[in-house]
């Protein structure tokens, strides 16, 4: 037994270095970035950062070709149909753009979704996507109810909640339904303030201010993320405790946020991009789900609001406190 192993090992060992050398080699990879948003794009920045951390150099080993079609899925369809097949190594999409990407079947597509990719129909299962799609989900849907609960913990007097939601976001109806159910459980009235795309954000903010709510819940989404400072400002102006999906909102003045770390998610997406560029099949790469959720509190905002908040019930749970 030992001798046979020994011979096998010598034989295999002498061959191995040649095989190892045959792999590798620098190549310029083309990555298509498709989004229904407009620049500045915080998601692209996160992804770029991840690729840089993995040793990719923009212009040398990787190029990003961005395609934005703000609030216009039809325009995205056109981009997809004109995609130069065989020349693009990877397509990365986020948010609503992913729905359009289903038309692509021969180029690997990476996604970052708030919702459930199985429900969206882009993958067959989380463990085995079985298609040219894979990526990560933020589990926003699962957290929707939890956000209401946390807001209520912090502000027990909460009775009426304004819910600002971009209807252009995939899984948005499910998120709204989960929120609504949670509100019902906690005895809160939910005031739905829908808008569609960045153009309507201003109007939506005006509308939210007018519903006479005790607090504001904003669904995490690229549009609200881009306009987070404006939303936070409005919430403070109307003395509304606000709840968001990512800690970036709190940095911009939001009161509370609960959700997966966005940077971590995009960093992981970049590792998948790396693996696909190295030749792995996306259908074998399981969809990633976050296992750590951040609860961020902005105490400065809490002071600015000047209302009675049960900060102690939240502080010991917070992973990030801004003061």
């Amino acid at each position: 037994m030992e001798r046979r192993e020994f011979i096998l090992l010598i034989g295999g060992g002498l061959v191995w270095p040649a095989i190892a050398r045959a792999q590798g080699g620098a190549k310029l990879h083309r990555i298509f970035w498709v989004s229904t948003q407009a620049e500045p794009d915080p998601f692209l920045d996160g992804f770029r950062e991840g690729m840089r951390a993995l040793g990719y150099v923009e212009g040398r080993t990787v190029t990003f070709e961005t395609h934005y079609a703000p609030e216009n899925p039809q325009a995205l369809r056109k981009i997809v149909s004109e995609l130069p097949r065989g020349d693009v190594d990877l397509v990365v999409s986020s948010g609503p753009a992913t729905r359009v990407m289903t038309a692509i079947t021969d180029v690997p597509v990476l996604f970052a979704l708030s919702g459930d990719p199985v429900a969206l129909g882009v993958v067959k299962s989380l463990a085995h996507p079985g298609t040219n799609f894979t990526g990560s989900t933020f589990l926003s849907l699962e957290l929707a109810g939890k956000r209401v609960e946390l807001l209520k913990d912090l502000y027990p007097k909460l009775r009426k909640l304004a819910v600002l939601s971009n209807t252009d976001h995939p899984g948005e109806p499910l998120e709204w339904r989960a929120t609504l159910e949670s509100c019902r459980n906690l005895g809160i009235d939910a005031a739905y303030v829908p808008f569609c795309g960045a153009r309507e954000i201003e109007n939506a903010l005006m509308a939210a201010a007018k519903v006479d709510a005790d607090a504001l819940l904003v669904f995490p989404d690229a549009v609200t993320l881009v306009h987070r400072a404006r939303i936070a400002e409005l919430a403070i102006a109307h003395r509304l405790p606000s709840m968001f999906g990512w800690s970036e909102y709190c940095d911009a003045g939001g009161l509370l946020s609960y959700g997966a770390n966005q940077r971590t998610t995009y960093f992981r997406l970049a590792t998948y991009a790396d693996r696909i560029l190295r030749g792995e099949n996306p259908s074998d790469l399981p969809v990633m789900r976050p296992e750590k959720f951040e609860l961020a509190v902005n105490l400065k905002t809490a002071r600015l609001l000047g209302i009675d908040l049960d900060v102690s019930s939240i502080l010991f749970r917070a992973s990030k406190v801004i003061s």
Partner: protein
């Protein structure tokens, strides 16, 4: 030119190649075989040592991983223990909830915690994803977690994959007091990844964790874990192979390449930590040693080849020279000398060869000289010359001289055509030559129809007189038989012989390379006179001969005769053997015919 070269190479190359092969085989065995043996022995010992060392390293790493995983689960168990220290009392729910939320904050891996009272009813539930619940909830008294914790204080549930992807496990802890109830935590096992990912064995070695049935729990590549049960068959096989082996085992790894693997059991959980390292890295040092050895062996082969070539070349050069020398000698170039200064046996051989060549040259010169002498000397003389020069030197000695002469030859020669004369002469000369050779006498020379023979010079014989007489008889009989045939052809030719013995001067006389051996003295004249006196078929001898052969040969005295050049008359004897007395009838007539010619 090219033909010659090709020919020479074709006849010299085969031996050189075979020499080359022999040298190569010898040097190969001498240099390369010990190298190969050394390398093989070193590699096998190295392999054994390396394997022992790798086993130790893998054991340590697997043990460390197992310890850290146990620390991870022990941490959860201990933290849950805090939850069940105090018995439940009314209105405690809020405090318990805060404790549970703190627990979530403390232990990131815990996704949710249920706190049950002594009846097994849920009182508090907090979660990272779901809404928290407080107050009396569902009855969980029959849940295996509750039963397990009550029986064993601590219960570790089986690994389950949420949505068939993320590994989860439930841990339940019961308080020491039954009234304290049970705490059940749902643990996301993805968090063990940190423990496993931190383990690096060498450059590319790593550790994985599988449960009892081969389901993957932790792997440095988290995506393998997220594939859920689908990959468990492959990891189940690895676990089975590694657990079966004592110590490290070489198995086919998950990527199909061979790995060295070793497993350690995590006691409480029934999990197995498998530490593995690709053999390509684990045995890199041995491989390097083997490469070094291969290079050395290759070098050895090269050296053996070049040495063999050099030696074979050194051998074949002299051999070729010797061969060429032999060829030249064969062609008669005795002056050819071989020049080899290798200081070894070849030089010795060349020396001997040169000696041989010079001796051959001398011998060749001798035989050439003899050949030349044979052309004009009687063959006995010629042979003698070869052996001793001194024999031919002029000296005085006792010799017997025989003269023979044809009778009636003058008349014959005037009457006949030259070709008839020459035919008779050829027969006559041949007969005389044959008799001379037969009796080992020396043929001094022919003089027309006359012939002169010498006995006892230059070669001495025991009884020269007797031998001379016998020769004379033989000569007479031979010529007589010829004469009979000539007579039948109508030529009247007879033959007379004279024999005398006495001291004479013998030696070679000549000029310019023309050398003759001859005898001079009274005895020669005497023999000549006797010959002249002799009638056909008669042999006349002088008194000296007669005195010496009287007992063996019948002689008849012819009385005193006057001989020219002698003052006194000499007694002349006729040799009269029995066979000579029977003379052919015409002999008397032939004798008579001669007489007037000579006198």
């Amino acid at each position: 030119m090219t033909d010659g070269a090709a020919q020479s190479s074709s006849c010299t190359m085969p031996p050189r190649r075979s020499l080359f092969c022999k040298y190569f085989a010898t040097l190969f065995v001498a240099a390369v075989v010990p190298l190969i043996l050394g390398a093989a022995i070193e590699a096998s010992f190295g392999y054994r040592d390396q394997r022992r060392q790798i086993s130790a390293v893998l054991q340590a790493d697997a043990r460390a991983a197992s310890d850290r995983i146990e620390a991870f689960t022990d941490g959860i168990r201990d933290q849950l223990g805090w939850m069940v220290q105090l018995p439940w009392s009314a209105g405690d729910d809020a405090q318990h909830k805060i404790d549970a939320l703190r627990l979530l904050q403390q232990v990131p891996a815990i996704v949710s915690v249920s706190l049950l009272d002594e009846t097994g009813t849920e009182r508090v539930f907090v979660s990272r994803l779901l809404l928290n619940r407080t107050g009396r909830g569902i009855d969980m008294s029959t849940d295996p977690a509750v039963l397990g914790a009550r029986g064993n204080k601590v219960w570790y549930g089986p690994v389950q994959y949420q949505r068939d992807s993320e590994p989860y496990m439930r841990v339940a802890v019961a308080g020491s007091l039954p009234a304290a109830g049970v705490a059940i935590a749902e643990v996301n096992l993805k968090l063990i990844w940190d423990v496993i990912a931190a383990i690096r064995i060498g450059e590319t070695g790593y550790a994985i964790v599988v449960d009892d049935s081969g389901h993957l729990i932790a792997h440095p590549d988290i995506s393998r874990v997220l594939r859920g049960r689908a990959s468990s068959s492959s990891f189940g096989r690895i676990k089975h192979l590694v657990s079966a082996a004592s110590g490290a085992a070489v198995i086919t790894g998950e990527r199909g390449s061979p790995v060295v693997a070793l497993s350690v059991q995590a006691a409480d959980l029934g999990w197995t930590v498998i530490a593995m390292q690709p053999t390509s890295e684990a045995f890199a040092s041995i491989r390097a040693a083997l490469w070094r050895s291969s290079i050395l062996i290759g070098l050895g082969v090269l050296i053996a080849l070049s040495l063999a070539y050099w030696r074979a070349h050194r051998m074949s050069g002299p051999i070729k020279q010797l061969e060429e020398g032999v060829e030249r000698i064969r062609a008669g170039q005795f002056e050819h000398r071989i020049k080899i200064f290798s200081g070894d046996e070849f030089q010795q051989l060349a020396l001997r060869f040169n000696e041989m060549a010079s001796e051959l040259a001398i011998s060749q010169q001798k035989s050439a000289r003899i050949e030349r002498l044979k052309q004009f000397l009687p063959s006995q003389v010629a042979e003698l010359v070869e052996h001793s020069h001194e024999l031919l030197e002029a000296r005085r000695r006792e010799v017997a001289v025989i003269f023979g002469d044809l009778r009636g030859f003058t008349a014959f020669s005037t009457r006949n055509e030259p070709h008839v004369i020459m035919a008779v002469m050829r027969e006559y000369y041949a007969a005389v030559g044959a008799v001379t050779t037969r009796h080992e006498a020396t043929l001094i020379g022919f003089d027309g129809d006359g012939v002169m023979l010498l006995v006892n010079a230059p070669i001495a014989c025991e009884q020269p007189a007797t031998q001379a007489v016998r020769l004379a008889i033989d000569l007479q009989m031979t010529v007589q038989s010829l004469a009979g045939r000539w007579c039948d052809a109508g030529h009247a030719i007879g033959f007379g012989v004279g024999v005398a013995m006495g001291p004479a001067t013998v030696g070679t006389v000549g000029y310019n390379g023309r050398l003759d051996y001859t005898a001079m003295g009274a005895v020669v004249n005497l023999a000549s006179r006797l010959c002249n006196l002799a009638k056909d078929a008669q042999i006349l001898a002088d008194p000296t001969i007669a005195g010496k052969v009287r007992d063996s040969v019948p002689l008849a005295s012819l009385g005193q005769r006057n001989i020219r050049g002698y003052d006194q008359a000499l007694e002349v004897f006729a040799v009269a053997p029995a066979d000579l007395s029977l003379k052919p009838p015409g002999s008397a007539q032939r004798g008579r015919e001669k007489e007037p010619q000579d006198h």
